[in-house]
Symmetry: C2
Subunit: 369 residues, 2 copies
DNA sequence: TGCTCATGGAGAAACGTATCTCCAGCCAAG
DNA sequence: CTTGGCTGGAGATACGTTTCTCCATGAGCA
């Protein structure tokens, strides 16, 4: 008695109880071949004549056979699943301020993964350890890991490939990708200075993530270099209301800036509203730039110059690096390799001061134009 | 010789080859108990004194034991994974126009799933059959299923619970949730009429999805009811450029509407821009409402009245219904049960005509106020 | 003493696949 | 006639759990 027949007998007795899906054994029995042959035929392995292959495939199709992903994963050690880890504030996954960025990035990452036969699982960075351990991952993408992130360290220790979006603070990862935030900020400040700005302000965040830290440092360094007094307001970026308040505060200062760069997506509208309250015209009295992926800034009045972090490119790169690591089965190297991606400044009217069309006198005449 | 010891011996010989994670057998051996005891201790089952439980847990912790999700899934038949199926246009998952809606909905769905111990897997609705069959799902959420959706039918046939966001055209699902689009559109049209509108136009889509169809039908029905000539322009909603063109076309008509409702998120800015081109003031010359989840319409000039579909509530409901079906193990009933969720109209200045503050004469005096 | 129960825990059978090992048959070359 | 290689395919094992079944022990009770 063959194993298949044996199984079939057992299966037949329990069939009445619950609806059972056809397994590889059923296909083997129906095709009159062994399990090995079925597996080889369907997976294109082994040495089989095409005749046998097509016959097995027909039978499998007829029975509506779907291989068990769980069994395959158990056997091969590969699940085809990639974790997408997002930072959480409170109950919600991913922050409000990073919303557009995250959505674009996740979309690109999803596409890239699917193109290579993987699927993405969205997981929270903190807590819910139960969920984490319940899903078999081949690797993980971490967005904006915190300094000394315990979760990342834990994953890495388990031998799981980890690629982060954002240079990791102080935890080992297989690889990382990040924007060149330093260069981006310097570029914006130079752009504003060329447009005539003399006192450039910054709207920044209070959190310690890499993006905020690097950007603020670049700003301070630039100020030091050109001898400008730093003018900035920081607020908790995850609080959507705090941004408007901070924007107001920045423009209410006695040493009011004549240009502002806002690090977060909603800063553009917040600053525009604040400027309106103080009767400041943009760009005549106030130059504006903010970091955003949203295209609403193309249609605001006036349109606002934005810095795009190109999240699509980042999402694609991160996933491809991760899958390379998974399939290369390269043991995570000690010296983690990083990659800096360029950003894109989309110049619109809010940061361009043309020869005044009206008779308005700018706070300072554009000296270095 | 016990099975554990036997295993341990075998394991020891191969240890040198690859880094092996501790399995349940290793924990059992180290704790001096059986595999059964370890499993029971860690899962809170069986009859064990607390003493044994804590000891086993300590040993497991010390060895860094992580149960294999694949093995557990294979054994229990539950993966804790829920598919989130998104429609695709071309290569990209989820459409551009549904972007904010989808992002919010997905976020809520992710939270809801995690709260109940499940994780979400993002999957494309079309093609990539290989990826689909490679992941063990407990159930699937389908966003906006197409009429006679073959994928949904296939999933359902396999006995997998399927819950859809959007009333399914003609395919069986376990349950569905949708907004009351009919009531929403009627509410908006009444709102506009009360604000003085006499010729309400509609910016709609050319696709056949439920949302577009129901909304358009409601509009046409309303027009018939009040005896207004329908004024609408339809465009392919997945093309971001086509919207601006359609908005322009609608306002360029000889029988130009004095109020417009736009079905899609970008319609608000598109219509505002078009109105500006034609020298129409909002709301004095043109009342505006659009369906959007974006809060940028709170800060446009003027702020635009929007209809929110409350995607968060939908995402949460859909996931909870699905998990109920999964855990209730209720066999999918033939008579699929649906649920209508209310929408929310956020009234802003663009749809309100107050007693004219300036000396402007509105196209028609607000007769029915 | 003999019987019943409750307690604590061990053994072993699955779950459904991939794959390693090995065998039978056949044909050609020595 | 023997040997060796190639073809087509069968058997059996392992992946790491969960869980069903069952046994040993000791206490309580007649």
């Amino acid at each position: 008695m063959t194993a298949a027949a044996n199984h079939h007998g057992r299966r037949a007795t329990t069939r009445a109880r619950r609806l059972e899906r056809a397994g590889i054994r059923d296909v083997a029995a129906a095709a009159g071949v062994s399990i090995t042959t079925v597996s080889d035929a369907l997976n294109g392995k082994g040495r089989l004549p095409d005749e046998t292959r097509t016959k097995v495939r027909e039978v499998a199709e007829r029975l509506g056979y779907r291989p068990s992903a769980a069994a395959r994963t158990l056997r091969t050690g590969r699940s085809g699943l990639i974790g997408l880890t997002v930072t959480t504030y409170g109950q919600e996954p991913f922050t409000f301020t990073e919303f557009a960025y995250f959505a674009e990035m996740a979309r690109a990452a999803t596409s890239a993964a699917l193109n290579r036969g993987y699927a993405l699982v969205v997981l929270p960075a903190s807590s819910r350890h139960d969920v984490w351990s319940n899903v078999a991952l081949d690797g993980t993408v971490v967005i904006d890991p915190a300094d000394h992130d315990p979760m990342v360290a834990d994953l890495y220790r388990q031998g799981l490939p980890v690629v982060s979006d954002g240079k990791p603070g102080n935890c080992p990862v297989t690889a990382w990708v990040d924007n060149d935030h330093h260069a981006a900020v310097l570029g914006i400040l130079d752009h504003l200075a060329q447009a005539g700005a003399r006192r450039i302000g910054l709207l920044t965040g209070t959190s310690t993530d890499t993006y905020t830290r690097l950007s603020t440092e670049a700003y301070l360094g630039w100020c030091r270099g050109v001898g400008q007094q730093p003018l900035y307001e920081a607020y908790p970026a995850h609080d959507p209301c705090a941004g408007a308040v901070a924007a107001d505060r920045l423009l209410a200062r006695p040493d009011r800036p004549d240009a502002v760069y806002g690090l977060f997506d909603p800063n553009g509208t917040d600053l525009l509203a604040a400027a309106r309250r103080y009767g400041l015209r943009v760009p005549e009295d106030l130059l504006l730039v903010c970091c955003s992926e949203s295209d609403v800034y193309a249609t605001t009045e006036p349109p606002i110059t934005t810095l795009s972090l190109k999240p699509r490119r980042i999402g694609t790169t991160v996933v491809n690096l991760l899958i390379d690591a998974i399939e290369g089965a390269a043991p995570p190297t000690q010296d983690t390799s990083g990659q800096l991606m360029p950003t894109e400044l989309i110049v619109r009217r809010s940061s361009q001061r043309r020869p005044a069309r009206t008779t308005v006198a700018a706070p300072r005449p554009p000296g270095e134009e």
